[in-house]
Amino acid sequence: MNGKKIVPLEFEQPLLLLAQQIEALEKQLADNPNAELETDIAQLNEQYIHLKRSLYANLRPIDHLAIARHPQRPYTRDYFERWDANWVEMHGDRQGSDDPAMVTGFLQLGDFAVLGVGTQKGRALRDKQQCNFGMPQPEGYRKALRNFHHAEKFGLPIVCLIDTPGAYPGLNAEERNQAQAIALNLRELAGLTVPVVAVVTGEGGSGGALAIGVANRILMLEHSVYSVISPEGCASILWRSGDKVAEACQAMKMTARELFSLGVIDQVIEEPLGGAHHDFDFASQKVKAALIGQLTELTLLSGPSLKDDRHRKFRKMGSFVEAAV
């Protein structure tokens, strides 16, 4: 993460303890060279690598959630900057507001000139507050919609990056019709005749995520999550307990691989070992490559076919039993 020290997560604690032990022994070794100690350290280092791999190969859903929410995880602006240093941001809903939690702009993605849209969590505290911790106001969705229509007019493919706990649940947001802002985006996205690809890069939280997620292809980063309600919300409603977050994570099937198995998403994008926050450039390149792959396929389709493709995709979603009448 650009030379900054990476904040460890709770489930990484054993790894951290081992690393501290190794460090201590290395200090000891420096003061007092000793062949036996050297062998011990070598063994511990091997153990460390083994532990790390096994830890990341066996993450529980709640661990994925922790990585997806890591405060140093790359955000929309980090991707846009890496993809196109000269990307041009488009501001505002034209009606009185420019929501920092929703970022929109023009960018060059390989050969594709695209409209980029993404939620933004904010890094520093002030920034986080301005971005409402990544929870857009209705005006943010309306800004996205204005730009969706712009992309439709000029035949620009649309790339949406999703990383939001959900739409902001505030008094003003309700009064300015958060529900309608989301609903309208769902309908209008369904009707576009340009390619739309969405990537869940962190948290995909409920309707607030879906409002920029009605895409021809839905991709997810390996450790990102996507769910109908936050696991905390789910636990408190269904278990009536704040302790059952891990159970809620498990029950809801919110990880990238589970959702891929369910057929809801189309591709899982590999992250650097330990998560995207360990290497922004790696993550950004992987996402870029995945997007270019999808766009290359989608741009073979005509406008009406793209719309039909999107309609068909969501038409199939759901699971039910059809009894004999």
Binding site: V228, W239, R315, G318
Partner: protein, 312 residues
């Protein structure tokens, strides 16, 4: 009959009218309903004939899908569609109980297979596609079946060029179906995109309560949106908002009347007038399609006249 006899018969008939035994609690409850709002004791039969609206304070009692349909559809015209769809358990979801058990319990309580009933009927002789949600079944939550039935009804309407009326009442998404319940928002909205392109009328009616994924998809996409008096409608729940903004919300917040004031619904209509209002709106918009078709043909005739004049 002399006066004495007459008095005796009066006494007898009065005695016959009097209830011999005091009412049991159940009988009492069946006979009388107390208004939740003004606390008035109402004769249950009167309440029902008044569309379950308190005649004293206009409080609108929650009603089930069956009563809704009875109130709106012309007699004997209701034809249920897609009633054979039932929920499955795609995630094998278990919280403090399994999802299948909860489904059985929901059906036992509501007498319905699912939280929405869909079909067609006549509305003062005009055919419409009608979808009615029932809060009594699983809190009116939207899972795959609700999404599928609403979507199929919209497709049916597109195919048969019918206006669509959707009456919502929902706590939001059905969490037990995880992401699949979220996707019903996209599915129904995409169906409405086709309806929108087909330029067919969609009237959305919001009733107590309508929240979450239902509000943030089809319920807010009506060409015309009607709310019932006093209904609480919103995206996020009241408690969630209070926790987020750390202050108490005003009482009228998220009521139908509050939404009207904030430009979110076109009108608040009392249940007793709902059928007339709907019929008026459907008729108003239907007539226009005919008229504009007329205009096209009139212009063709007019152009025909012009060109025939020119060729002369």
């Amino acid at each position: 009959m002399d006066l004495k006899e007459w008095f005796a018969s009066r006494r007898k008939s009065r005695e016959a009218m009097q209830v011999k035994q005091p009412l049991t609690t159940e009988e009492y409850c069946a006979l009388w309903t107390q208004c939740f709002q003004c606390r008035e004791l109402l004769y249950t039969r009167d309440l029902r004939s008044n569309f379950q609206v308190c005649p004293k304070c206009q409080y609108h009692f929650r009603i089930g899908a069956d009563q809704r349909i009875e109130q709106l559809a012309d007699p004997d015209t209701w034809q249920e569609l897609f009633g054979n769809l039932m929920s499955s358990d795609p995630l094998g979801f278990v919280d403090t109980d399994t999802y299948p058990n909860r489904l059985i319990e929901a059906t036992r309580k509501s007498g319905l297979r699912e939280a929405v009933v869909t079909g067609t009927c006549l509305l003062q002789d005009t055919k419409v596609a009608l979808s009615v949600m029932d809060f009594g079944h699983f809190g009116g939550s939207m899972g795959s079946v609700v999404g599928e039935k609403v979507t199929r009804l919209i497709e049916h309407a597109v195919e048969h060029e019918l206006p669509v009326i959707v009456i919502s009442s929902s706590g939001g998404a059905r969490m037990q179906e995880g992401i699949l319940s979220l996707m019903q928002m996209a599915k129904t909205s995409a169906a409405l995109q086709s309806l929108h392109e087909a330029k067919l009328l969609f009237v959305s009616i919001l009733t107590e309560p309508t929240f979450g994924g239902v509000t943030a998809s089809f319920a807010m996409l009506g060409d015309i949106i009607i709310a019932e008096p006093g209904a609480r409608i919103g995206f996020a729940g009241r408690r969630v908002i209070e926790q987020t903004i750390r202050q108490k919300l005003p009482n009228e917040f998220q009521t139908a009347e509050h939404l009207l004031k904030h430009g979110q619904v076109d009108m608040v209509v009392e249940r007793t007038k709902l059928k007339d209002t709907l019929h008026g709106l459907v008729k108003f918009h239907k007539r226009k399609l005919v008229a504009s078709a007329k205009a096209e043909s009139r212009e063709q005739i007019a152009q025909g006249k012009v060109s025939s004049r020119q060729t002369r």
